[in-house]
């Protein structure tokens, strides 16, 4: 290991040579933020625009029949599910001890914590490295999340993350806002859905 302790001190010393004064930034005033009359409609509009499919359902029991209408789902070989009450999946993640074993994963069904109306994002918090890998390696992703948990915007989202103490004292956590399937426009600004992550994203909004 390179000894960096000297550099650490040098850098901190340099930074402390001249004290710089600046006020603490004022916290965001909630009254000045956008509010949507119909957050579910807003969420749906935005995330559909970025390539996801949204399904409004009354219970998780509706998920499997809806998926059964999708050709890529019925022909899939490997399906992993973290929401067994909705979709059972056809292999057990318990057998997997190396994320690389998910290389051929076709579909992953995962729970989302809460959706964000303003930008169509869903907070997803996988339990371990295997669950985390699923999110990005699967060809097709399904997120099941309660529309009752919808927050208006990112300010409410982070307030909620703090209240639930997702970070900090709880130790290691990985969490991600996912908004739509993976995409790129690196070739002549032509939007292509399905870059490195999932090719499609199905969102099921339960009550």
């Amino acid at each position: 290991m390179v000894a960096t302790s000297n550099s650490r001190q040098t850098i901190l010393d340099r930074l402390k040579t001249i004290p710089i004064e600046a006020p603490t930034a004022a916290a965001i005033d909630p009254d000045r933020l956008v509010k949507y009359d119909d957050p579910v409609a807003k969420f749906t509009e935005i995330v559909t625009h970025v390539g996801a499919q949204v399904h409004l359902v009354e219970s998780t029991a509706e998920v499997a029949p809806r998926l059964a209408e999708i050709a890529e789902f019925t022909s899939a070989r490997l399906i992993a599910s973290l929401v067994p009450e909705a979709v059972s999946g056809n292999f057990s993640l318990a057998q997997v001890d190396d994320p690389h074993a998910l290389a051929r994963l076709d579909w992953a069904i995962v729970p989302g914590s809460f959706p964000v109306a303003e930008n169509g994002a869903i907070w997803v918090r996988p339990g371990d490295a295997i669950e985390r890998t699923m999110l990005f390696l699967t060809q097709h992703l399904v997120i099941i999340v309660s529309r009752g948990e919808m927050v208006m915007h990112m300010h409410d989202a982070y307030r909620r993350l703090r209240q639930q103490d997702h970070f900090g004292d709880r130790g290691r956590e990985f969490g991600v806002f996912i908004s739509g399937p993976s995409k790129t426009a690196d070739i002549e600004q032509s939007l292509v859905i399905g870059a490195h992550g999932c090719r499609t994203l199905q969102i099921f909004l339960t009550p």
Binding site: M1, V2, T4, S7, R8, I11, L12, L15, K16, T17, I18, I20, A22, P23, T24, A25, I28, R32, V34, I46, E118, N119, G120, A121, D128, A129, R132, T133, L135, F136, L137, M154, A157, Y158, R159, L161, F167, G168, G171, R172, E173, F174, G175, V176, F177, I178, S179, S182, K183, T184, A185, D186, I187, E188, Q189, S190, V192, H196, G197, C198
Partner: protein, 494 residues
């Protein structure tokens, strides 16, 4: 769209009032340096291509406008983001220590690098001490700034850029021409050619869908064989010891979770004080960058992936502490690398990112690069019509065009201006201090323009008239008209 990655780039040496710039500036390649006008000349010469490039970026600018106007509190967010960055830059030493302490609690190994070379050596050491030969990288402008790829490749390590745009330029042995859209200067037919050569796609194929699919297959293999993953850092949260990486493709996440080792290269100015500050920046970043409401993936890393995994964060100075000393240029450290200033810059759109001859091009690059090497990058603050559009799009309200003007004055103070610039200005200043002389020279000049043959003014020595007519000289100046028509008349009237 590509990954919105990180970071900055000021290399060594001083900005503004501090001492003179850097001998070990990381951004200086061995290539003989040409100034912006001469490199822009080559790009602009191809009118069709210039319009194509301009149109592609204007399209992104329009998408940004649409997103910004959809948020009623847009300007409020920009103000708040600027205030948070101002606070964070002021509190930098304290916040970095807080970040380090919290990150360590999460099992993160924190490294500190004074310059690009130390950053590269730290990364190399992490890899070599574990016998790692294959590194998968997501977009990191900091590693571009440090020229990490060349450094590692020279030591036998295979480095794979996994962002599609970056992979394209890597295969073509080029550099990114834009910090968010690295391959914006390359046409799909050229990508097709490159992929045909390297990935075996069909000759002549240029459909972006087809080419992206080919890259997906190619890079999946690389991900699965990668032994370590390197990402940038968009935001590091002092309060939690975690950091956020924003991408669209999913490449940073694959690179970070598949291998056991995740290295995150972080410019020290990426620090923000509080968790809630993320709400402001995640609302602004993608909207400003690509006109999306948010990036597809906004990943929050707090510690290694599991008990066997390792997470290393390398905090890099490389000139940033020096830039921070300068009251004039300090605000540029607030840059969140969205690239909006490039998309809106009328000069960038028509001259291309490579004309700036630096890792970070465009308005923000023209502010940062002279801090690392004022002589080499002297033409950049002049590659600007001072239109101010960059300042108006900047999500953290960096006064970019005023900083570019400030650099010009700084060059003057440092005695760097060439005689071709100073001599005409000394003459003009003399003229403008002597109104009688000004009027006389003006009268003679206009008389000459009216009487001498056209060739006296429209010739190869007059750059103005190469493509433009000169104004049609009137026989009388306004001063003279006023004397005749108002002062003398009034005199008569009284």
């Amino acid at each position: 769209m590509p990954t919105l990655m990180p970071l900055p780039v000021v290399s060594n040496g001083a900005a503004g009032d501090a001492n003179r710039p850097g001998e070990h500036a990381a951004d200086n390649g061995p290539v003989p340096h040409r100034d912006h006008p001469s490199m822009a000349h080559d790009f602009v010469a191809n009118v069709e291509r210039t319009h194509w490039h301009d149109g592609a970026l204007w399209f992104v600018r329009n998408k940004r406008d649409a997103q910004a106007s959809a948020i009623p509190e847009w300007e409020y967010l920009r103000e708040t983001a600027g205030a948070i960055k101002t606070e964070a830059i002021a509190r930098l030493p304290e916040l970095l220590e807080q970040f380090e302490a919290n990150a360590k609690k999460l099992g993160v190994v924190v490294h500190w690098a004074i310059d690009a070379d130390e950053h590269n050596r730290i990364v190399l050491d992490i890899l070599q001490s574990r016998g790692i030969m294959r590194l998968v990288k997501s977009k990191s402008m900091l590693t571009e700034e440090c020229h990490l790829n060349a450094f590692l490749e020279a030591r036998g390590i295979e480095v794979i850029d996994t962002d599609l745009g970056e992979r394209i330029v890597q295969l073509r042995r080029e550099t990114p021409s834009h910090i968010v859209l690295p391959a914006i200067h390359i046409k799909k037919e050229e990508v097709g050619e490159t992929f045909h050569q390297h990935l075996g796609t069909e000759a002549g194929a240029s459909d972006p869908q087809y080419l992206t699919e080919a890259a997906r297959g190619h890079l999946r293999g690389k991900f699965l064989r990668g032994e370590a993953g390197l990402t940038g850092v968009n935001f590091a949260i002092a309060e939690t010891g975690g950091f956020v990486v924003c991408t669209n493709e999913g490449n940073a996440d694959l690179g970070a979770v598949l291998p056991q080792i995740h290295i995150a290269s972080m410019g020290m100015e990426k620090i923000i004080p509080r968790l809630e500050d993320l709400s402001v920046f995640t609302r602004l970043l993608a909207r400003s960058a690509t006109g999306q409401p948010i990036t597809t993936y906004t990943s929050h890393f707090h510690g290694p992936r599991d008990s066997e995994g390792e997470l290393h964060v390398v905090i890099v100075d490389n000139g940033r502490t020096a830039l921070r000393q300068s009251k004039t240029f300090r605000a540029a450290l607030g840059c969140i690398r969205c690239g909006a200033c490039m998309n809106t810059c009328p000069v960038f759109r028509r001259s291309g990112g490579h004309s700036y001859g630096a890792t970070v091009p465009g308005p923000i690059g023209s502010v940062l690069n002279p801090a690392s090497d004022d002589v080499r990058h002297q033409s950049l603050p002049y590659a600007c019509s001072l239109c101010g559009s960059c300042t108006d799009v900047c999500p953290v309200k960096i006064p970019l065009h005023h900083q570019l003007l400030a650099w010009r004055k700084e060059f003057g103070k440092r005695g760097l201006l060439k005689i071709g610039k100073t001599l005409p200005m000394k003459a003009a200043s003399h003229l403008f201090r002597h109104p009688w002389l000004f009027q006389t020279v003006g009268r003679w000049g206009r008389a000459a323009m009216r009487s001498l043959p056209r060739i006296a003014f429209v010739n190869r020595f007059n750059v103005w008239s190469r493509d433009r007519e000169l104004p049609t000289p009137p026989s009388q100046s306004f001063s003279s008209w006023y004397r005749q028509n108002r002062e003398e008349k009034n005199g008569r009237d009284q």
